[in-house]
Amino acid sequence: MSSPGGRPHLPVECAPRLRPGGPFGLLPRPLTIRDVRRENSRTATFVLDGELPEAKPGQFVMVWLPGHEEAPFSLAYHCPVTLTIAAVGPLTRAIHGLGPGEALWLRGPYGRPFGVEPETERPLLVGGGYGVAPLAFLAEHLLAAGRRPAAFVGGRTAEDIIGVARLEDLGVPVVVTTEDGSRGEAGLVTQPVGRFLARGEGDVLYGVGPHGMLYALARLARAHGVPAQLSWEAYMGCAVGLCGMCEHDGALLCVEGPVRHVILE
């Protein structure tokens, strides 16, 4: 078949790329809660009956509870889908009211994941608060790529420290800090990280946690000339790069983040 005037046919744009969601889209799908593990008085880990084999550490899912809201949560693990959720408001408190057999509705995974930084050997993984959630998933990924990660977990008090056992189970050494000194080293988590960097015991930083901690890690990375991949949080609406609500420093965190690379001069 030829087109009028013997002109070649126009290229047809590649259909699969145009429909990331497939014929049924990316509607939130219910996943049954298989297990709930309490991490501390505010935080619990939900293991769901479902897998996201393609998902990478650093990516997030949008979790909807019908009749309530929808919000982003980092994947603490992908197979089975695991989320560590702190009860801080109406949605997360409602989620904490759920038990095995009940469901959470998920869409995703979304966002840019953490990547294995080339030509590095000793990644330092830094987490504050529920930011520790994806670190074990990340550590597993880095170990599989032949890296030797060390982890740093910070909190205000001993009660805020979560996720240490999962990291240690992987054979990852963990340094704990608390602001009140009730567990591990007293002070901010960035102190031991700075020390490790100064001693040449780390050549790349990975960070998840409050923005203050991330800014401090970015400064440390620049001061020591090591690459850093930091996961930023912002209020998210659509999670697919349209609504603009998650803008941070000119970047759309849902599609150009949450993981951003620190640019070294």
């Binding site: 002109r7 744009e13 969601g21 509607l27 939130p28 609406g237 659509c238 697919v240 603009g244 803008e247």
Partner: protein, 324 residues
């Protein structure tokens, strides 16, 4: 043979030059001066800011957007910082866009024609290149009632209120779900509108079967993406027929250069881009430009304008018409 490099995609809307016909649609990335600049740097020919009203609004709670397969559905609920702050945002955006040669379209909404005029007066202080009246948002029914775009009288009342205070080209964004979009277009043009943006999203609903609840917190929302395109193309066709010579920004489901060519052949001058940013990522403007240029070349044209309205040519009478 026309060389690809000789294809000129630039167009002029009421004296405003766009380096290419692709207009970032209102509500997509238009929430800050930095994001508007980003869209321009990514290749948009013009950028439309998120619609602003008189007072700040937070919008609807999540979920606000989902992909249901043949398109998206959204009910974001017009979150905006209010007209005063919006004017500052627009002024900052204007400064960022000027060196790029990409015009800025301000978009406004209001609860009454007078409120539209007041918002217009405030945001026009920032000197946007074009003002667009969003009289067709389907997602704020609870507060604002039936959109002005639902009737000729409603649409005209807003244009009549804004026209006297508006010193820049005035575009009106129409809704697809009306019995005669051409008549509404003709009436708003008679009332003083310089151009038409067609169309806004199509009202719809998606229900989660497991929970028995609508997926969007607002329950209903506006359909966009591939499902909207044929509806939008037909509206643009009707409008082009009703108001020949009046610039149209054809918006609705344009995802590829072929879609854009359809819009232009239906009579659009420029082409709005919204959901495609989801379907094809932030590089979409570059891809659309390349794909449209190839189609212009295929038609042995050098200017995209030569494709405009092609679909309106009369039917070629068949010489061997089959007699019943």
């Amino acid at each position: 043979m026309v060389e690809l490099a000789d294809v000129d995609l630039s167009i002029t809307l009421c004296g405003v030059r766009l380096p290419n016909p692709f207009v970032l649609a209102s509500g997509i990335l238009g929430t800050s001066d930095t994001l508007l600049e980003k869209a321009a740097r990514l290749g948009a020919g013009a950028v439309t800011a998120k619609s602003a009203g008189l007072h700040p609004r937070t919008g609807h709670a999540n979920p606000i957007v989902v992909d249901w397969g043949a398109g998206l559905i959204n009910a974001v609920g017009l979150p905006n910082p209010g007209a005063r702050r919006e004017a500052e945002l627009l002024a900052a955006a204007k400064a960022r866009l000027a060196p790029l040669g990409v015009p800025l379209i301000a978009s406004i909404f209001g609860g009454t024609p007078d409120e539209f005029a007041e918002v217009a007066r405030i945001v026009l202080e920032a000197e946007p290149d074009i003002l667009e009246l969003n009289i067709s948002c389907p997602n704020v029914h609870d507060e604002y009632g039936e959109p002005f775009a639902a009737s000729c009288a409603g649409a005209v009342s807003v244009v009549e209120a804004v026209r006297p205070v508006c010193s820049v080209p005035l575009f009106v964004k129409l809704a697809p779900n009306v019995p005669n979009v051409g008549r509404i277009a003709a009436d708003v043009v008679a009332a003083g509108a310089d151009g038409i943006t067609a169309v806004n999203t199509m009202p719809g609903m998606v229900i989660d079967v497991e929970s028995g609840r609508p997926v969007l917190t607002n329950r209903s929302g506006g359909l966009s993406g591939p499902a909207l395109k044929p509806i939008a193309v037909r509206c643009v066709y009707e409008i082009a027929q009703a108001v020949p010579g009046v610039p149209i920004i054809g918006t609705g489901g344009v995802t590829t250069g072929r879609d854009a060519a359809e819009m232009i052949m239906a009579g659009a001058w420029a082409v709005g881009v919204g959901s495609a940013v989801y379907y094809r990522g932030l590089e979409v403007f570059h891809s659309l430009r390349d794909e449209l240029a190839a189609i212009v070349q295929h038609h042995r044209s050098t200017r995209v304008e030569e494709l405009r309205g092609l679909a309106h040519r009369p039917r070629v009478a068949s010489q061997e018409a089959v007699e019943p």
